[in-house]
């Protein structure tokens, strides 16, 4: 479906001039450096896969997505999606893909949602039977009924995102790009959107490329993850591998009923203590959470307890800082 070989995108960035008359210097300065937003990235995505594309802010995620969707022209490298070179045949290509950018809407601000969707039917030349069937189907799963006749400007964020998802899929695209589709949504709305993505992927074999900062999105949706930072692809493989190999340490936060003197327990490190609250770090392979809790409750009286999974940002930072993958 997607083939990417040695793909790079470099931007030329002006170096700001400092000191006296900096405004004037900035104006005449030709002093610039090259920013490697995406640097020599290669990967393949097969039909029907859901791939999580992860990385901290500014890592090069969006730049890659923009090249994959034909918005940006690569500096070098080869890029082929579904038999198209995206930026060369933009119009033909984008009629076969769908995209949702969490921060932007494809709906027309002043138009009722249904009219935006009908306009898209015209733009994508969707046969009316397909349009009607898809609209009915998506309206039911996403619960669009309540606001189908309201203008887009009056929708809540969750409603807007659902309408945007519907808009991106009306033309049965082979490939769907989701750039932070759950950003800013509450738990229920997130869950609904995830269910929908899984449903579409299962029923229509739609390939999905997803960027997110929400680990739950990735865990729920993706079997495969790719991690990018500073423009370089650091990891590409099964999500489980990522978590077991680099998952970092889980944390157990315990509130004790009594002020104990010695809180050390076998198999876990006491990271910090503050009054009756203590935080332990333990690794997934060596000790299960239930075993640790058992060991603790044998010796202490416990009031409250919670387990913290390492978040994806921390995992990525860990991978990058410690260069766990070698010099790739």
């Amino acid at each position: 479906m997607i083939q990417v070989q040695n793909l790079s995108k470099h931007f030329s960035v002006r170096n700001p001039q400092k000191g006296n008359f900096s405004l004037l210097k900035n104006f005449v300065s030709r002093d610039s450096r090259i920013l490697k937003a995406v640097d020599d990235v290669s990967f393949k995505v097969n039909r029907g896969e859901i791939v999580g594309y992860l990385g901290p802010n500014g890592a090069g995620k969006s730049t890659t997505i923009k090249m994959l969707t034909g918005l940006l022209v690569p500096t070098s490298g080869h890029l082929e999606v579904n038999g198209f070179v995206p930026w060369k045949s933009r119009q033909a290509y984008v009629s076969r893909i769908g995209a949702v950018f969490g921060q932007r809407s494809t709906l027309w601000w002043d138009l009722p949602v249904i009219e935006s969707l009908e306009l898209l039917q015209f733009i994508y030349k969707i046969p009316s039977a397909t349009f009607k069937q898809n609209l009915e189907h998506f309206t039911k799963i996403l619960g669009l009924d309540e606001f189908l006749n309201s203008p887009a400007r009056s929708l809540s964020l969750g409603q807007r995102m659902r309408a945007d998802l519907c808009a991106a899929l009306l033309h049965n695209p082979d490939l769907l790009f989701l750039d932070e589709p759950t950003i800013g949504l509450d738990v229920v709305a997130k869950e609904r959107i995830r269910e929908f993505i899984l449903h579409i992927n299962a029923t229509q074999e739609t390939t999905v490329v997803l960027t997110t900062h929400d680990l739950a999105d990735v865990q729920k949706l993706c079997k495969r993850a790719m991690i990018i930072d500073h423009g370089k692809l650091l990891f590409d493989g099964a999500l489980e591998t990522l978590q077991t190999r680099f998952g970092g340490l889980r944390q157990l936060v315990v509130d004790f009923a009594l002020p104990y003197a010695d809180l050390e327990v076998e198999g876990a490190n006491l990271v910090s203590r503050d009054g009756n609250r203590a935080v332990y770090a333990f690794s997934r392979e060596q000790l299960s959470a239930s075993e640790l809790i058992r060991r603790l409750s044998e010796r202490f009286s416990i009031q409250d307890i919670s387990v913290l999974e390492p978040d994806i940002e921390a995992t990525i930072r860990l991978i990058y800082e410690q260069n766990l993958l070698g010099a790739t």
Binding site: F11, L71, L72, V94, F101, S105, T106
Partner: protein, 247 residues
Amino acid sequence: MTYRAATVAGLTTNIFFGLLRASVLLALLNAQRVNGWDSNDAVTYVVLTQAIMMFVSIFGWTDLMNAVYRGEIATDLLRPMGLFGFWFAQDVGRALAALLLRGVTILVISSLLFHIKIPSSVAQFLALLLSMLLALTISFAIRFIYNLSAFWSPDARGFARFVSVIGTFASGFLMPLRFFPDWMQQILNFTPFPHIMNTIIEIYVGSISGNQVLEALLVQTLWAALLVVLAQIILSRASKRLVILGG
């Protein structure tokens, strides 16, 4: 309608400035004929320019430029359609709304206050409609081109304003072009600007007729075709150097 108040406010401003401009022009003419126009022609000129100025966006337009700066252009590029056609379709909608809501109202209200000429034959009326369509195409193509400069410059608003100001003057909006000296009219005839407004005025007032109208429409068509092709060429260059900001 959500924007009723905005329409009424705009209309009030339109009519106020129309009255102001008509009074100034009448005072200047002082019941004399100037270059073939009498005071009746002059008042009709003022009312007509007030009625169609929003139709042809005489004061300029930067929506496309703003979409580029805000990164919203990405949404448009993700759809299987040409940018020119998409934005032109939207502008035609905007222009028609401006013409029907504001233009017609201004004509009606003004005709109660002044004696205003109206097209006297079907042929003249059809020529007028065609001329207005071509004027909108030319106006849009020019606006589209200067908006595309946003792909090259991080702030092209100054350039847009510069072209708009030239446009208000050279299209005959500030003062009828036939009041200008001959040499200046000749220079302006080498630019597309008179075809945004002056041609419409001349046809409406009836200062040109017969073959002169056909000739004017032909020149207008050529300018429209030339500018649309130019816009497409510049657009294909612009999209190669696109930098989507943000997100």
